[in-house]
C-alpha cells in the first residue's frame, strides 16, 4: 500500500514555495484509500496549515566549524608510513597531493573528537540487535567451476593463475597498485 502511494506522489510533484525548495504534495481528498491511512490524513492536515509549514529541515545552515583548539594536534603522515600503507593497501598515493589529501581527510575526521563518548560501546555492526542466523550443515552450493573460471582472464586446466607470490624475492608482483585519484 505504501508503494502505491509513493508512486502516485512521484507522478505529480511541484515545489510549493521557490525560496525554501520544499516539495508539497497535491491535494488528495479525492483519493483517500480504503483503510483510511494516516498518510491521507497527514496530507489533509498539511494542506490546511499551508502558511505555517513546519519543516524538520532547518531553513539556514546550523553547522558551525569546529575551533582548532578543540581538536588534537594535526597528524603528519611520515614517508615511512606512506610506504607501509602503500604496501598494505596496494594504493599508489606517494606524491605530495596524495599525502596532502590524506592529511586533510584525517583532519576532517578529527572533528569527531569533540563528541563525548564516555561509557558508550563502539558499534561495529548495524546488525547488533539481530540474531546471527546459523545454517544447517548441508551442501547447497558448489559445482560451478566453469562459471567461475570464465570470470578469470587467464586460467590453466581449471586452475586460476596468479603471478608468483611472496616466495619469490619480487615484491609487488601480487597485484598492481591502484592509483589514488585526487579531487582537490
Amino acid at each position: 500500500m505504501f508503494c502505491k502511494c509513493a508512486a502516485r506522489v512521484s507522478r505529480a510533484l511541484r515545489p510549493a514555495h521557490p525560496r525554501c525548495g520544499v516539495l508539497t504534495l497535491p491535494a488528495r481528498s479525492d483519493t483517500v484509500s480504503a483503510s483510511g491511512t494516516s498518510w491521507s490524513r497527514w496530507t489533509y492536515k498539511r494542506e490546511s496549515s499551508n502558511s505555517a509549514w513546519n519543516s524538520k529541515v532547518p531553513q539556514v545552515p546550523t553547522w558551525e566549524p569546529v575551533a582548532e583548539n578543540q581538536l588534537p594536534p594535526p597528524t603528519r603522515v611520515s614517508p615511512d608510513l606512506v610506504d607501509k600503507l602503500e604496501r598494505l593497501a596496494l594504493v599508489d598515493f606517494g606524491n605530495k597531493e596524495g599525502v596532502d589529501c590524506l592529511e586533510k581527510a584525517i583532519r576532517f575526521a578529527d572533528q569527531l573528537h569533540v563528541v563525548n563518548t564516555d561509557g558508550v560501546e563502539p558499534m561495529d555492526s548495524v546488525l547488533e540487535d539481530r540474531d546471527l542466523f546459523l545454517r544447517d550443515d548441508t551442501i547447497t552450493e558448489g559445482e560451478c567451476a566453469e562459471e567461475l573460471l570464465h570470470l578469470a582472464k587467464h586460467t590453466v586446466e581449471e586452475y586460476f593463475v596468479a603471478p608468483p607470490g611472496k616466495n619469490n624475492n619480487n615484491k609487488n608482483t601480487i597485484t598492481k597498485k591502484t592509483s589514488c585519484s585526487i579531487r582537490t
Binding site: 604496501r87 555492526s125 542466523f133 550443515d137 548441508t138 559445482e143 586460476f160 603471478p163 607470490g165 619469490n168
Partner: protein, 553 residues
Amino acid sequence: MAASSSGYSRMFCKLRKYANKSQSLYHIDTFNFVIRTIWISGSKTQLQPKVHAKSLPQMVGVVGLEIHAQIQSTSKLFSGSHVRFLAPPNSLVSHFDASLPGTLPVLNRRCVEAAVLTGLALNCTINKKSLFDRKHYFYADMPAGYQITQQRVPIAVDGILVYSHFEGRKRNQVVTKSVKIKQIQLEQDSGKSLHDDERSQTLIDLNRAGVGLMELVMEPEMCCGEEAAAAVRELQLILQALGTCQANMAEGQLRVDANVSVHRPGEPLGVRTEVKNINSVRHLAKAIDYEIQRQMEVLQSGGTVLNETRAFDSKSGNTIPMRDKEGLQDYRFMPEPNLPPLFVYESEASVPGGVDPAQAVVIDRLSTQLPELPSVKRTRLVETHGILQEHSFTLVSEDGLMDYFESVVQMTKAEPRKVIGWVIKELMGNLNSQSLKVSQSPISPCALAELINLVESGQISSSTAKQVFQEMWKAPEKKVGQIVKEQDLWMINDKEELQKICQRVVDSHPEEVQIIRRGNKKVLNKLMGEVQRETKGRTDPVKVRAILEKMVS
C-alpha cells in the same frame, strides 16, 4: 682440558719454587690437592670455562604451539559448498568462496558446535558472546584480501591440555604435564597454491578456501620437542574421539606451527622464531630440537636471534629461513560488519524467547554429547583390569586395540596382565612388521582367547603357544585346536613320560650332573634346555626343573 692443565702446571711450578725456598713439601702436597680439585671442577662447566668460577644456569628452550585443526563438517564455515579432501580443482567453490562481489557469509552451526565441544573437552571457558573480525593481507590463495577470524573475543579461552610422555631408559616412567590453552577461535581456511617456477606463475585451487578451522593457541610453557610431540599426540586423540577433526597431519587436517625461543630461567623470554612446514609429529620434535640447538649456538657465539619465519626441511632435519617479514606484518584487524555477535547459550532455559531453540547452540546439550575422552579411557583401563599405565597408552593410541583387548579379556579366564602381554607383544609386533591396522588382523579376538585358554588350562606350554600364534597368523582359517593337533604340540603332562625323558637327558650328560652335584646350580638350565629341545617345547618348565633337581641331587 689442555688449557686448564697447562695453567695448572704453571701454578704447580710456581708452588714448587716457593716450596724449595720454604722446604715444606707437606704443605705443597695438600695445596696441590686443593688446587687440582678447584681446577677440575672449574673445567666441568662447559658454558663459561675460563671466565666465571661459578657456572651460569643452562639455557633452556621455550616452545609455544599454534595449531590449526580443520573442522570435520559436511559444508564450509560460511558457505554451503562441500568439504572434501580430493576433488577436481575449483569444483567445491561457491560464489562466496570465490569472493564475488555481493556475496555474504552465513555461519554453519556444526562448526560452532565443533568449536564448543573442543572447548569443553579442553576445560575452556566458553564465551557466551563472541565476535568475528577481518584480518587483511594480500595473497593469491585468499581472493577476498581478508580472512574472517575471531581476534577480539574468540569462542573459547583459558583451557588446559593434559598430556604425558615417557621418560627413563626403558621409556616406562610416565610423566604427566599440562599446557595452558590461551584461546580457541573459528576462522576460514585459505585455498591451495601450486607454484610453477618454470613459467613463473602460481596455480590457485579454491576447494579448500572457506573451510572451517579451529585455531588453538597454546601458552609457551613447553621446553623441548618431545613435550610438544606428546602434547600434539594427545590433542590428536582428543579431537578424533570428539569427531570434530580427523587430525591427520599428513593430509593437512592438523597444521602445527611452533614458536621457539631460548633463555635462561628467570630471565625474560628471548627472541622467537616461527617454524612452519611440519608434516608429522616426529618432524615436529626434530624441528623444535634443531631450532633450540641452533639458537643456543647463535647466542653462545655472540650473535643475536632474528625474529623470522623458518621452514623445516624434513630431508636434512634443518630449519631454513623462509621469507623475511618486512617488519612486523600489520593485519589491520577490523570488526566483520556482515556478522552480528555469535551467542552461545548455557542451557535450554537461558535461550531468549525470540530465538528458535532448535537453531541455538546450547552448551548443556553439547556437554551431554561429549564422548569418553582418552585420559578417562586410560584411567578406566588401569582401574578395571589392573594393567600398567604405559600399556594403557598403547591401547588407547591404536585405533581399535582397546576393544580388541577388552573382548579377549571377556572371553578368557586368564589375568588381564597376561592378555596384555599377548596383545602388545605378539599381536602388535606382527601388525607393525606388516604395517597392518588392528581391524586387518588375521587373528580374531575369539581365536586369541581360545589360544590363551589352552595355555591357562595347561594343555599347551607358553612357548608352544607362541609357535601356534605364528601358525594362526599365516593360516587364519584354521582353528587353534586344529593347528595344535596337526603339529602334535600338546603338552606332555604324563609324569612317567616326563620322568623317562629327564632320565634320558641326565644319563646322556654325566659331566654336567657332576658339576651340579658339586654346587653349580646354573648348569641345570642347560639340562632343562636339552629337555625342551627334545620335546620341542611341549613341557612345563616348572615341572621339568623339579624332576631334574630330584634326579640330580
